[in-house]
């Protein structure tokens, strides 16, 4: 076994204890080579072993031949954030272009599986190296030369599986799930994995400390991404029109929605759809279509990302002022401008809250895990129709496109809330109908849908100033009264958006405020602060805007609240300051803006630094 699994010399790798089910794997590949499948298979196989696992895909804004990384974290404590941005316990190095850079930050003693021709093991003497002749193995496993470049990555899955102790059955099931019924692909990739396993068994002697051992921690759970969860939410929300313009990382909400709609939203007999699926020419049009549909009584939605949000500004203002329900998903990527289309951020918060000129304000639902992606998508339609306004659901690339573990989604129990819509029958009982009158004191007027067969039903909707009767007005008092009523409506909305999740453990000396995809990193950070630094923290996860009273109450309780923002300017802190001047002074920003999802360490470090200052 000369040259293979070279022993680390000089005692630099201290013989550490075993690391079981709690470590991170980095897979470095090239895009367009099927690595997305093999990565999913590897992750899924670990999941099948009953171990909580999370995956983060770092892919280029490019279609073929560029570096791509996939990080898999195993954590029995259900920590789903990245463990670290750079350091991993196992590097699977398949891309010569980045191998040296990938190698550099590896901790001494950690382990590297690599494509033999790269000759990596001469580069560092403090790591465990496993060179593997992948091309040769792929050639043996796959006679078809054209397909070969797609199976190489599965060979590597086999090697990893064997070295770590991932069972073949788990791998096989993962392959079957990945290629759903495509028999040839299943056979080919299973064979490739087996080839990798066999090679490792025959030629690689285990010298690292990483182990995967079967557990029973993921029973009944699902592995899904947030965009798919949202698409499902829209399906079960009874969404009847979806208009979109493709944009990374939001496209897959729409693409999954189309797939599910074709399958589950078509009439069994006629095959006809209960949902209009419209690819628009741009985002201006996508939102206009959604507004037209929402006005006419459909449950309509669109999904986009930063540049699309900007283009939707004028339409969002129209929806706000004419009071039309609409659901808009923003899956945030990293700006400004086109920025990093395949990286994550929370840079649009402030923008969504105030999108459009004039004095506009929009409700935002902010899911932080897969179940919330599903639930909030359902709720968004109810809130949009209840409040009669465009509602945003704000995700980011990390939530939207990475695979996350979750409990299975709960079927929506609450009946749909279609809001205050007057039918012909209702109108029969009425003497007058004023479209924009606040009858109930909640700021929400009644509406009628076009096509309502009653003489009272008709009115003109207009983006110009209007009075209660929906007539154009330039009168100051009417204009102001309309703005005031809409503001009242937003008071009502405060009680409808998902309330924050708040934890106030005894002895908490500081508080952390977070939202969206920062949740797992923050929760891990809280454990670390408690366990390693003796700092107990209170915690508020904000899940909706306009903020409910609980939010302010919480802020006022603590002498200092760290607000975790994945953006440069601290947008959540800014928004909280705008609304709660009394609490402004206590907010301390924890900022992260690299395009890569935040990890617990970043949070802990920034908090410790500021706590240091405090004392």
């Amino acid at each position: 076994m000369s040259g293979i699994g070279q022993a680390v010399e000089g005692g630099k790798t201290r013989s550490a204890e075993k690391l079981v089910n709690n470590f991170s794997i980095q897979v470095a590949t090239v895009n367009g080579t099927g690595s997305q499948s093999s990565n999913s298979i590897l992750m899924r196989a670990i999941f099948e072993m009953g171990i909580p696992v999370s995956g983060k895909n770092l892919f280029p804004s490019n279609i073929y031949g560029m570096p791509t990384w996939f990080t898999i974290r195993l954590s029995e404590r259900f920590y789903f954030a990245r463990e670290s941005v750079k350091e991993f316990d196992l590097l699977l190095a398949m891309n010569p272009a980045t191998a040296m850079d990938d190698l550099a930050p590896m901790k001494p003693g950690s382990c590297v599986i690599y494509d033999e021709p790269m000759g990596l093991r001469d580069r560092r003497d403090d790591l465990v190296f496993y060179p593997v002749p992948f091309a040769k193995l792929a050639a043996e496993a796959c006679p078809d030369t054209k397909l070969r470049r797609f199976v190489v990555n599965c060979v590597s899955v086999g090697v990893v599986a064997r070295l770590l102790g991932i069972e073949q059955a788990a791998c096989d099931k993962a392959v079957r799930l990945q290629f759903e019924g495509r028999v040839k692909a299943i056979e080919l990739n299973s064979a490739a994995i087996r080839a990798g396993m066999d090679y490792a068994a025959a030629h690689l002697e285990k010298r690292d400390r990483l182990y995967v051992e079967r557990r029973d921690l993921t029973r009944g759970m699902i592995l899904i991404d947030g965009n798919t969860a949202c698409a499902l939410g829209c399906i079960f929300a009874g969404c009847t029109l979806m208009a979109w313009y493709p944009i990374t990382p939001a496209s897959s909400i729409c693409e999954r929605f189309i797939e599910y709609a074709r399958k589950y939203r078509s009439d069994a007999r006629t095959g006809k759809l209960t949902c209009a699926l419209i690819q628009a020419e741009d985002e201006l049009a996508a939102l206009a279509i959604v507004l037209g549909a929402g006005w006419a009584g459909a449950r309509a939605m669109t999904a986009t990302s930063g540049p699309g949000v900007s283009l939707m500004a004028e339409g969002a203002g129209l929806g706000f002022y004419t009071e039309i329900p609409a659901v808009i998903f923003d899956v945030q990527r990293a700006g400004p401008s086109t920025g990093l289309p395949t990286r994550t951020s929370q840079q649009d918060l402030l923008k969504l809250a105030t999108l459009s000129h004039g004095d506009t304000r929009h409700p935002i639902l902010i899911p932080s895990n897969m179940a919330e992606c599903f639930d909030f998508s359902v709720q968004a339609f109810d809130i949009a129709e209840r409040i009669q306004t465009p509602v945003f659901v704000m995700l980011d690339l990390d939530l939207g496109m990475n695979p996350w573990i979750s409990g299975p989604f709960a079927y929506p129990e609450k009946p749909m809330d279609r809001g205050k819509v007057l039918t012909e029958r209702d109108l029969e009982k009425m003497k007058t109908f004023d479209r924009y009158r606040d009858v109930d004191g909640d700021g929400i007027p009644f509406r009628t849908l076009p096509g309502t067969r009653h003489p009272l039903a008709a009115y003109m909707t207009r983006g110009t100033s209007h009075n209660e009767k929906a007539q154009y007005t330039e009168r100051a008092a009417e204009y102001r009264a309309m703005l005031d009523r809409i503001a009242r409506k937003f008071e009502t909305a405060r009680h409808l958006v998902p309330p924050p999740i708040i934890e106030r453990p005894a002895g908490a000396t500081a508080a952390i405020v977070a939202y969206g995809s920062s949740r797992p990193a923050v929760e891990e950070a809280r454990d670390r602060l408690r366990e390693r630094h003796g700092i107990e923290t209170a915690y508020m996860l904000i899940r909706g805007y306009p903020f409910s009273d609980d939010v302010e109450r919480f802020l006022l309780e603590f002498p200092g609240a760290y607000v975790v923002d994945q953006n440069r300017s601290g947008q959540m802190a800014a928004l909280l300051r705008m609304h709660f001047p009394g609490a402004s002074a206590v907010l301390r920003p924890v900022l992260h803006y690299t395009g890569i999802a935040i990890d617990a360490r970043t949070i802990v470090e920034q908090i410790l630094a500021q706590e240091g200052e405090r004392t």
């Binding site: 799930l177 009944g220 699902i222 079960f236 929300a237 009874g238 009847t240 029109l241 208009a243 599910y260 589950y264 939203r265 006809k272 759809l273 209960t274 209009a276 419209i278 628009a280 020419e281 741009d282 201006l284 049009a285 939102l287 206009a288 279509i289 959604v290 507004l291 037209g292 549909a293 929402g294 006005w295 006419a296 009584g297 459909a298 309509a300 004028e314 339409g315 129209l318 004419t322 299975p408 989604f409 079927y411 749909m416 109108l427 029969e428 849908l449 076009p450 096509g451 309502t452 067969r453 009653h454 003489p455 039903a457 008709a458 009115y459 003109m460 909707t461 983006g463 110009t464 154009y472």
Partner: protein
């Protein structure tokens, strides 16, 4: 039940006297029932005349007011939906986005008759993208573009339909090639493309009625002079100049479905000078076309474009039914939608059952 009067049918659509009062249509409604608020346009505005013909067309065609939806962008023209069909819902949206709104409305409720009103600025400047893609989708609606060659509501700047050499009141001269929205619509395959003029209400009325009878997108380009900003000497969009330039391709007569049904061969009987021709519309009505421009065939896309361009070179503006293609798939058919309007689907039809969620969840386990 709503108290929609539906007795007192006016067979020809032209209305009969109802008990000595105003004439009523098949629904028992008078033309006044299709009017709207008092207009606030300038006296003599071309848009005003176009609006009147819309009122008339809707009334004569006995369109149920609750089925009408008026949609518009921003501009003097886009304000006119307030001035007709006061019993119908309307949506005066934002500048250039009427097509998007109309698309959503048409998809949400296929039983409605969307009537979009736009201007040359609203359509050919800021809105040209949505206009083009609306045509590609072939949304079942009537799109009326009221064209005066200027942005009137912002006080008279040139719009993209201004002709080369046309002047503004301050003397500025346009030297950019105009966009001919009819040619554009024909090129892109809009199945019903018509051009008319506020000064030719008879032709305009026939074309609007045809648009109502048609199934698919109907584009009606109305030359509609602005008396305040673009009706002077030197303007090529003045009443005078358009009257001189306008050349109807046919003498056109709209024969409504009920008449056509009763007298199936009246059309052929009625032939006059030249070779009258019938074009059948989706609702059973037809146009009787009596050629004025020799050999003009509204069924030939490429030739139509050529004829329009050739006439334009001679300073002649062809009007009438410029293009008609009865068989193009409309959006709702492309979308393969259920028959019932999406807006009216009960939750039982839009929220799949519990078992579906279970089934889907299985695929992620």
């Amino acid at each position: 039940m709503a108290k929609i009067v539906s007795g007192n049918v006016a067979g020809t659509g032209k209305g009969r006297q109802a008990g000595g009062g105003d004439p009523v249509n098949r629904l028992g409604l008078t033309a006044r029932d299709y009017e709207g608020e008092k207009s606030t346009l300038c006296p003599g505005c071309g848009h005003e005349i176009a609006t009147k013909q819309i009122v008339r067309a809707l009334w004569e065609m006995s369109v149920e007011p609750y089925r009408i939806v008026k949609i518009s962008g921003i501009g003097c023209s886009s304000r006119t939906p307030s001035f007709f069909a006061g019993r119908a819902h309307g949506f005066n949206g934002i500048h250039g986005r009427m097509p998007g709104l109309a698309t959503g409305i048409a998809a949400a409720n296929r039983e409605l008759l969307p009537i979009g009103i736009s201007g040359d600025g609203d359509t050919a400047a800021i809105g040209i993208g949505q206009f083009i893609h609306l045509i590609r989708r072939n949304v079942r609606m009537i799109y009326v573009m009221e064209d005066n060659g200027v942005y009137s509501l912002t006080k008279g700047q040139f719009s993209p339909t201004a002709d080369i050499g046309s002047t503004l009141k301050d003397g500025s001269i346009n030297d950019q090639e105009p966009v001919d929205c009819c040619s554009l619509a024909i090129l892109l395959g809009c199945p019903y493309v018509a051009r008319s003029f506020s000064g030719d209400p008879v032709q305009l009325l026939a074309l609007l009625k045809g648009a109502i009878a048609h199934n698919g997108m109907a584009f009606v380009h109305v030359l509609s002079p602005c008396v305040t900003f673009n009706d002077h000497e030197g303007s090529t969009k003045s009443y005078k100049r358009i009257r001189e330039a306008a050349c109807p391709v046919h003498r056109i007569e709209f024969v409504p479905a009920e008449v056509a049904a009763k007298e199936p061969d009246r059309a052929r009987r009625d032939g006059r000078d030249g070779t009258p021709r019938e074009l059948h519309l989706a609702d059973g009505s037809f146009f009787r076309l009596d050629p004025l421009e020799e050999g003009y065939d509204p069924g030939d896309r490429a030739r139509a474009l050529e004829r329009i361009a050739a006439a334009a070179r001679d300073g002649r503006l062809l009007t009438g039914l410029l293009y008609y293609e009865p068989n193009r798939l409309d959006m709702n058919r492309m979308l393969n939608l259920v028959e019932e309007p999406l807006a009216n689907l009960p939750p039982g039809k839009t929220r799949p059952g519990r078992e579906v969620l279970d089934e889907i969840m299985q695929t992620f386990k």
